[in-house]
């Protein structure tokens, strides 16, 4: 299957929501099968990444290295499962390959890796790397007067890293208008809430003070996400979309819980999580994603 997306097409929100539901289920299956961490982090960002691939970015999954493709960098590499699943759903490779995630000999590492995985631009896992590389890609595209855009998805916790603020200064100084950052702002980091670790607030004001255009939206509302990305992409400098999200979104017993940064669902917990995702999808399709 080949999927090409262009900004001109009429957005089919129902179809992309369905993709997001399937990606959530893949994420649950992959992390449970592999007994891997970070299911909560992956569920948190599913809507952001599926909206980007479903509505915003221009690419051809049959030609993942095409020069004019938009680039997507996952800087919070620990949530790689969500990117692998999204790429599979959008036709970059077969969904059966997701079963390799976390397995012996697999190239589908827990932290996202580009080697042998079509569509992954950059391997990450150590936090604070993605934005700098994305800024370099955007700088290259600007200097070469090429039309593609670069998107980088960061976690909130990784905004503790000084390297990000170096890149934030750089992108603003060079007015990298082809660079859009999305923040998966679920407000929980590795051990505790962000506010109790290294407080980021006033977060949007920090970005503004650094010279960035800021959009904020509900990071699970596809209509709002698309509007925010379109507004961000239309600015004359770098833009950030601060996506207010819920860690573990879709499985109520995982939501807003540090535990599910590490734990994976087994046995009855897996069955319960799968049922929760069914419930979430049904509510989401009726327009009540927060039910």
């Amino acid at each position: 299957m080949t999927i090409s997306v262009s900004l001109e097409s009429e957005p089919d929100f129902d179809a992309v929501r369905d993709v997001a539901h399937r990606v959530r289920r893949h994420v649950l299956d992959m992390t449970s099968r592999g007994k891997s961490s970070h299911v909560g982090s992956a569920l948190s960002m599913v809507d952001i990444v599926t909206v980007l691939y479903g509505h915003v970015m221009r690419y051809d999954s049959a030609q993942p290295r095409a020069a004019d493709r938009d680039r997507f960098i996952l800087s919070k590499g620990h949530a790689g499962a969500a990117v692998y699943a999204t790429l599979a759903e959008f036709g970059f490779f077969g969904k059966d390959r997701l079963e390799d995630h976390y397995q012996n000999g697999s190239v589908f590492s827990g932290h996202v890796s580009h080697k042998g995985v079509p569509g992954v631009e950059l391997s990450t896992g150590s936090l604070g790397h993605g934005l700098g590389v994305a800024a370099g890609m955007a700088m290259a595209a600007m200097r070469q007067r090429r039309g593609h855009r670069v998107y980088a998805l960061l976690s909130d916790g990784e905004c503790d890293e000084g390297s990000n603020w170096e890149a934030i200064l750089f992108a603003a100084h060079h007015r990298l208008r082809n660079l859009t950052v999305a923040i998966d702002y679920n407000k929980i980091q590795s051990l505790a809430p962000v506010a109790e670790t290294l407080a980021l607030e006033p977060f949007a004001d920090k970005w503004r003070a650094f010279g960035w255009h800021v959009e904020e939206c509900d990071g699970h509302d596809h209509v709002a996400l698309l509007a925010a990305f379109r507004a961000a992409d239309a600015t004359s400098g770098p833009a950030v979309v601060i996506c207010h999200t819920t860690k573990g979104k879709g499985v109520r017993f995982m939501e807003n819980s540090v535990l599910w940064h590490y734990r994976n669902a087994q046995g009855q917990e897996y069955d319960a999580a799968a049922a929760e995702l069914e419930r979430f999808a049904a509510a989401d399709n009726k327009g009540h994603p927060h039910a």
Partner: protein, 308 residues
């Protein structure tokens, strides 16, 4: 040596618009000419080496041949993880240039001594490690950099060994034998070759003939030349303006042991696993920390049991 590098870089930039020089806010006066001639191929990334390196990787992934430029440890250790995870894992065409190898900035203190860089950069897969001994050699090696795909480290020294230019003898990955002798071999990296040359001249007066091998490419290492030195001469001394841990001495030892080739004797000269706390010019510090010509003479005599 820096000027030789920049002269050749200017030539490449003129011929290839994909050449990009990124500095971490250093190079006062030195980079002015390049930045004016090639404004679209020059970026001052500010005092932000992590972003400089990550960004360099991003540009290289989009087709640029990028050079990151700063002094001492700022292009290497400060941003080591960006070099490892971004540049090396993605095999990006980024040449990390450090101006100020060893004690080049000897009066500035330990922050500005690049004395572990060779060992650390050598450990990174995909990385080529280059440390010229002469300005003309730096220029020639820079000319040959496009032949090597992927990440490269270029360690530029303030000094010079002082030998006449012989660019045809310079080949990446191939050590340069600069003096013949059979009693022992001194294998050097960088401009500290000058100390070995002086030591060889002094020892020759006593009838001791040193072979001198200059290793400008530490990785990949010219194993054949090193094994040859062990087999054909009385013993081996390695000399580097660098820690004795993991750099040239380590690389030579690994090569010989794995080849099953035991030299008559083996000594590593360099910083003896310490941080220097004294400052001074490059010559002073070489003497102070036991890696000048006099120290080489003493080491060779002791090893050959021909002490005064």
């Amino acid at each position: 040596m820096r000027d030789g590098f920049l002269r050749e870089l200017g030539r490449q930039a003129a011929a290839d618009p994909a050449v990009m020089l990124i500095t971490g806010d250093l190079g006062f006066g030195v980079l002015t000419d390049f930045s004016k001639r090639f404004p679209d191929q020059f970026i001052n990334a500010g005092v932000a080496e992590q972003n400089m390196t990550a960004m360099a990787c991003g540009m290289a992934m989009e087709g640029y041949r990028v050079f990151t430029y700063s002094i001492a440890n700022f292009t290497t250790l400060r941003c080591l993880e960006q070099i490892r995870n971004d540049v090396c894992y993605h095999d990006a065409d980024v040449t990390v240039v450090s101006i100020g190898g060893g004690f080049s900035y000897g009066q500035l203190g330990v922050s500005h001594f690049a004395t572990e860089d060779l060992a650390i950069l050598r450990a990174l897969p995909n990385m080529t490690v280059i440390a010229p001994s002469e300005p003309w050699e730096a220029e020639e090696l820079t000319r040959r950099l496009p032949d090597i795909p992927g990440p490269k480290y270029l360690r530029i020294d303030k000094g010079a060994a002082g030998l006449p230019a012989d660019p045809d003898a310079v080949r990446l990955g191939k050590a340069r034998r600069v003096r013949e002798g059979a009693d022992a071999t001194v294998i050097c990296i960088g401009a500290i070759l000058a100390e070995a040359l002086e030591a060889a001249a002094r020892l020759a007066r006593d009838g001791i003939q040193l072979r001198l091998v200059s290793v400008h490419t530490l990785k990949p290492l010219d194993a054949a030349e090193i094994i040859c030195a062990a087999r054909e001469t009385g013993g081996i001394v390695t000399l580097e303006e660098h820690s004795i841990v993991g750099g040239l001495g380590g690389a030579v030892a690994e090569t010989l042991l794995e080849a099953g080739c035991a030299p008559g004797f083996f000594r590593r000269m360099g910083l003896q696993d310490i941080y220097p706390s004294k400052v001074g010019d490059q010559n002073f510090l070489r003497a102070e920390y036991g890696m000048d010509a006099a120290a080489v003479v003493t080491t060779i005599r002791k090893s050959l049991r021909r002490e005064d």
